[in-house]
Amino acid sequence: MDRFRMIFQYFQSNSESVMNGICGLLALASVKMYTSFDFSCPCLPQYNMAYGLGIMFVPPIILFLCGLILNRQSLVMLEEWRRPPGRRKKDLAVIRYMCSSIMQRAMVAPVVWIIVTLLDGKCLICALSGSMDPEKFVGFANVSTEQVQQLLAKVPCKDDELMRNSSSRKAVSRYLRCWSQALGWSILLVLIITAFLARWLRPCFDQTTLLQARHWSNYIDIEQKIFEETCCEHSRLFAHKCILHFFESMRQEIKLHSFSLPRQGEGAEGEEDLLQGITDQDQVNKLLKTWYCEKPPLDVS
């Protein structure tokens, strides 16, 4: 029992840290995914906006869903929400607490992606270069409308033959990147301030409800884990008994058919107990065949 106690204490103290760890790993994975992704703006008028905004918003949705899938507590919360009340009332405050903690953790990786994207700037340059006002930039001011759209769309592609050494391209690019980075830093600042205020001001509100909700959400999580552990232990004992019964019934069947005298040997008794009365190749073969063809019933009463 000592061992169990140690394991359960570990789970209890560390279920929050396990979830925080997963959250951090996903955030790192998000940065890694962005750096290894080969961003390649199509530089075509209709496609730029779709591509740029798609790369900015679709991976965060994927990361959010991954954050929900990988978090064990989301299943626990769903089960608690959908179970019939039975003899235990459901506490909506607990479910709300669990839901909010799951959502907060799942939002970290998408926010990291969006911020990294904005600070890098490529996405916004690709998406918004076609919407720039050509009058502001020298190289594009005196060009016809259709041409200017084509040229603006090619701004994100540095290696394009038309854009290779164009200073207007560099100007547009710098302008958009500046906006992108400003937006990125502002979002980061706002989020950090919000997090700081939320954590600091929380004790000023209903602290007791919060403590209760946290306790009971932890309890539900641990109860689930212990139930699974107990089921494992039970199935192991059940299997053990079932197999012993099986060997016993085989031994009796063999006794019934073979009229062998009860053995009175002394020396190797320890070993022969383990043999369970099965001491012959044919008996062993019969035992194995019966195990496959006629598994014993699931009843060890």
């Binding site: 790369i55 869903l65 089960e79 043999l275 598994k295």
Partner: protein, 338 residues
């Protein structure tokens, strides 16, 4: 049994993490395989599509089958499915649960391959370069070429070194266009897979939670029962072997004593355990005969009750009459040889 209990608890609590670990390793192996693979577009009109789609779809199929092969539980599922009913009824829900959990894990590496391939873009560029919309992307002023010529020129888009259609359509423009489409498809595919996984996982508690708990318990039970049965058989085999060999040595020792008309030497009372372990064989010649006999004439797989001290090695009495005659003949031959 404590040791077994610890091991089985480890397996049980960690069986899921073990399988998830294998799953993750296969996904990493799949990305590694892709980066190590030297993609080589043929740049010929009809071959491009076949090559590109082949590289996109055949390795995932292989990885899917590999996912099943590497999963130990597949033999357990097959056994449970094909066994005769006997005294234990079969529950199709348990079989379905086992199959679904295996299939879900096996789908991860192929999905990773397809995503990485689409996000990289080379396959789609190779497969669909002949379908690029030349009218919208290409140069308006170019000499009219026949359909076949246009196809041949477009087919060379992935191979920059031999591309000769710069007047028809710029290589970078076409590659960027195809790559954009490929990456869009890739992200949509990943989004679709993630959404499916999320729905499968989150809709289950809303519907058949009780049935799910039942299937999960019994599928773990079948696994544990199989492992415990194997362990019990291994223990039984060990004891069987031990007794068999012990009886062999006793038989040898008795026969040699009988053949040489030696009185059985009584070991001094204080030599104790060590002398007992010698099993009556105490000189080089005897040992050599024992070893030769073990090789030439292994004892039958039939343990007889322990022999009486007077060395009556005929274990004829007490043998069940239903035994086939072959082992008995072996026994007789052995003794008459001596």
């Amino acid at each position: 049994m404590d040791k077994f209990r610890m091991i089985f608890q480890f397996f049980q609590s960690n069986q899921e993490s073990f399988m998830n670990g294998i799953c993750g390793i296969m996904a990493l192996a799949s990305t590694q395989m892709y980066s190590a693979f030297d993609f080589n577009c043929p740049c010929l009109p009809h071959y491009n599509l076949a090559y590109g789609l082949g590289i996109l779809l055949v390795p995932p199929f292989i990885l899917f089958l590999l996912g099943f092969v590497l999963n130990n539980n597949i033999s357990m599922l097959a056994e449970e499915w094909r066994r005769p009913q006997g005294q234990r009824s079969k529950d199709p829900a348990v079989l379905r649960y086992m199959f679904c959990s295996m299939a879900q894990r096996a789908m991860i590496a192929p999905a990773v391959w397809v995503s990485v391939t689409l996000l990289d873009g080379k396959c789609i560029t190779c497969a669909f370069c002949t379908s690029v919309p030349v009218e919208t992307l290409g140069n308006a002023s170019h000499p009219r070429l026949s359909q076949g010529e246009v196809q041949r020129v477009l087919a060379r888009i992935p191979c920059k070194e031999i591309y000769n259609g710069q007047q028809l359509i710029a290589n970078e423009v076409a590659v960027r266009y195809l790559r954009c489409i490929s990456q869009a498809l890739g992200w949509c595919f990943v989004l679709l897979m993630t959404t499916l996984a999320f729905l499968v996982r989150s809709l289950r508690p809303c519907f058949s939670q009780a049935a799910f708990l039942k299937s999960r318990y019994w599928s773990h039970y079948i696994d544990i029962e199989r492992k415990l049965f194997d362990e019990t058989c291994a223990e039984h085999a060990r004891s069987f072997a031990k007794v068999c060999i012990q009886q062999f040595f006793e038989g040898m020792s008795t026969d040699l004593v009988a053949a040489r008309c030696h009185l059985p030497r009584k070991a001094p009372a204080d030599a104790g355990e060590a002398a007992e372990k010698l099993l009556g064989i105490t000189d080089q010649g005897t040992m050599n005969v024992a070893l030769k006999s073990w090789h030439r004439c292994k004892p039958p797989l039939h343990l007889h009750p322990p022999a009486l001290p007077t060395g009556n090695a005929w274990a004829g009495e007490g043998q069940p009459p239903t035994h086939p005659s072959v082992p008995r003949r072996e026994t007789a031959a052995y003794y008459s040889w001596v």
